[in-house]
Subunit: 333 residues, 2 copies
Amino acid sequence: MANIKDVAERAGVSVATVSRVLNGHSPVAETRDRVLAAVRELGYRPNNVARALRTARTGALGLIISDLTNPFFTELADAVEDEARSLGYSLVIGNAGERPAQQDDYIRTLLDRRIDGLLVSSAGTGSAMLSEVVASGTPLVLLDRTVPGVDAPCVRADGRAALTELAAHLAALGRRRPAIIVAPAGTPTGDERLDLFRTALAAHGIALPDERVGATPDLQHTGGRRVMSDFLDLAEPPDAVLATDNLMALGAMDELRARGLRVPDDMALVVYDDVPWFTHTDPPLTAIAQPTRELGRAAVHTLLARIEGRPADPVLLPARLVTRRSCGEPPIG
Amino acid sequence: MANIKDVAERAGVSVATVSRVLNGHSPVAETRDRVLAAVRELGYRPNNVARALRTARTGALGLIISDLTNPFFTELADAVEDEARSLGYSLVIGNAGERPAQQDDYIRTLLDRRIDGLLVSSAGTGSAMLSEVVASGTPLVLLDRTVPGVDAPCVRADGRAALTELAAHLAALGRRRPAIIVAPAGTPTGDERLDLFRTALAAHGIALPDERVGATPDLQHTGGRRVMSDFLDLAEPPDAVLATDNLMALGAMDELRARGLRVPDDMALVVYDDVPWFTHTDPPLTAIAQPTRELGRAAVHTLLARIEGRPADPVLLPARLVTRRSCGEPPIG
DNA sequence: ACCACCCGTGTAATCGATTTCGTAGCCCCC
DNA sequence: GGGGGCTACGAAATCGATTACACGGGTGGT
């Protein structure tokens, strides 16, 4: 591949001039045309590695995602990729697979690659390496999940309004024994969703006792199914279940179907994260829709603000309740 | 961040020695310990950008995926990422969004970044830039989709056995009027699947006339739904439909449900790509399962072979028929 | 005891760009 | 006509690593 020296020789100028022409720095003279002609004839493209070394800017962003096969994160990654590209950045993706060790590993290689900034949707609470990122001065923005003790803005959705609305919805439909499937206590996201839901229900005089709070260490399908099974074995099973993740909701649905129970007749079901698939289930599931693509976009912008040294505030976008038929009563619209 | 010079000074040696120690080249002497100590004390990590410039190896692979939100490609990307990481490579992902122009754009920036190799699951038939990749000498491997006229090995699944089995399955269940939803004529993947299916059916004396071949320019949900709608409006509607992509199958299911038709009673449905979600639909869908993760792994290995100058043959892995209940008759197992 | 060799290490070139600094030429003005 | 200020450009330093080459000193062979 041709390099800048080849171009300079062919155009009969110095490499400095070529660089200046290409970066639009100073010259407007007729050498300009000669340089551009040489570039065209040789099919020259600047070597980004060399440029990055000199300018200390790689033009690449890193994204650590906790589970790429989870549709919510897929959409998030897609949105981030889209926005990054449209702003001239490439995206190096790392899949943590919900394993903190692998996440740390990945963060390290991304730092070694001198990415310009890092977006992390953190697995677990592994913050050791995250503090190191902050210390290294690499701009960092947390995505979807906060990590206590890490000094970086977080971009995520606020479920308060949606959960309040959901509590009202359930109350109006006469559901008196709600339950929730969450991540284990200690996970910031899970704790928050539980607290908000409980508070919202209380406003309608509905309790959410601990026996109807089911935690799954794996945030997966199997965990959701097991918790639902436990719920159904209670002396007084719940009449409505909120799954705080789409995979867990899938598992819960499978358990219901396996027992021959029907939604919404025997059990109301609500899912956190409105992935497109849920409009195709039977019945379509009422969902708490996070503004996924907006979150991705906002995260990129926040990160760019940090990269350019502008102030970057945390972003909190409201989630919405999307009522379908899985709690009974077709929506009015 | 500390650089190699800082380490050299602190250890009282030259930068060359530090480099040699770190790359395990020659010394085993006691300077080695001094160097390692200095590295630890300073928290030194080699700058990959500088290293890449010198060695002409970035340790990054590029992956162009035609649609990241399509679960099949998500799983493919996930598998590629996993394998690449475990072999010490990072992955720069580009989402072509089924737009050839965007794909070309992305390929160009990846080349500028001097990735060590490129995997492409090509959108459309846009091969202009792909030929340029080959010309540039960057190792290239095609994934899932062949591109005529591009001299690069392709890693993909072979549907022959599965489609043969499917034809037998449908014949045995008495389905006499099969139909297929495919990409428009001219798309290598679509053409091949149509031909194989038609041939396999013919062996059982079953015809696949053109009126039961529905093409959708968008390989999406809406296209699948529209084609299914057309099928149902035929004087003699089909009694079995093969959707050659999971999104199109979703659309087809929606149309059936909207018309109050039932699977498998009123219509048998088979989906290409066995994404996990389809085991949760009601009824679970019979599917042609491509060995997605194996494809991803094989693609990375083939690419590495090319990178290291070893011979790299095309890879063709067999797809399997997974019978569930969407054509009638529960599976025997 | 001398020579050849090898081992461990340092010096400096190199990768391909950007950027600082210096300079030649030109215009303008007093 | 000479000094000041531009403009357009080249020479060379620089980013942070790897590596070819040179060199000193110890070792072994004869």
